[in-house]
Symmetry: C2
Subunit: 113 residues, 2 copies
């Protein structure tokens, strides 16, 4: 069991992954990217309540974590798009499971009318 | 897609689930419970760096979220155990996926020697 723990949730990798998923807005941003939205404005308008400033911060963090790539196309005006890296795309399976769980076991708090 | 978004990551359920998973220590605590540790002292000594005070707070939050049950056995001394509810047990699938991902795609930061 000790070995399992070391490779599992007590590893820096697991901590980092869980915190990445759990950080506010990241779930919504990644989900929008999974669904093909890739321009800043598209992401911004697709996610209710998320400000442009916070979206920008989160995208930078996701880039630093290696899950998102930013691409600048020298057009007029300059076009900036975001895409999932293979590492980011591999998160789909985690999100799917989390979404299944969250629908199967809704929170007992903040019930939706 | 709109409907998918509403049922998915923009729903309060998905937000709550992602934040539950992502909150510091919750991953380790739930993983220890998945592996059959169920006494406060066992959990406390199994998770390096986690203080008794924070463990106690997290267990209360996990109880409030409906994923953990606390059981008091009137023994001498009183025995307090924690167990996963069916809702908590159902998180195994999410953790498994997250663990697979975190091992397959280790963080580019804080590399482990």
């Amino acid at each position: 069991m000790k070995e399992c723990f070391e490779r599992g949730p007590f590893s820096p990798e697991f901590h980092a992954a869980a915190e990445l998923i759990g950080k506010r807005w990241n779930g919504a941003i990644l989900w929008a990217l999974f669904h093909g939205l890739n321009r800043f404005g598209e992401l911004n308008s697709a996610i209710p309540g998320l400000s442009a400033r916070v979206l920008s911060e989160r995208l930078k963090e996701l880039e630093d974590a290696g899950v998102v790539e930013r691409e600048v196309t020298p057009d007029t005006p300059v076009r900036i798009t975001y895409r999932l890296t293979p590492k980011g795309d591999a998160l789909r399976a985690v999100f799917k499971q989390l979404n299944v769980w969250s629908m199967a076991w809704p929170s007992t708090h903040d019930p939706v009318a």
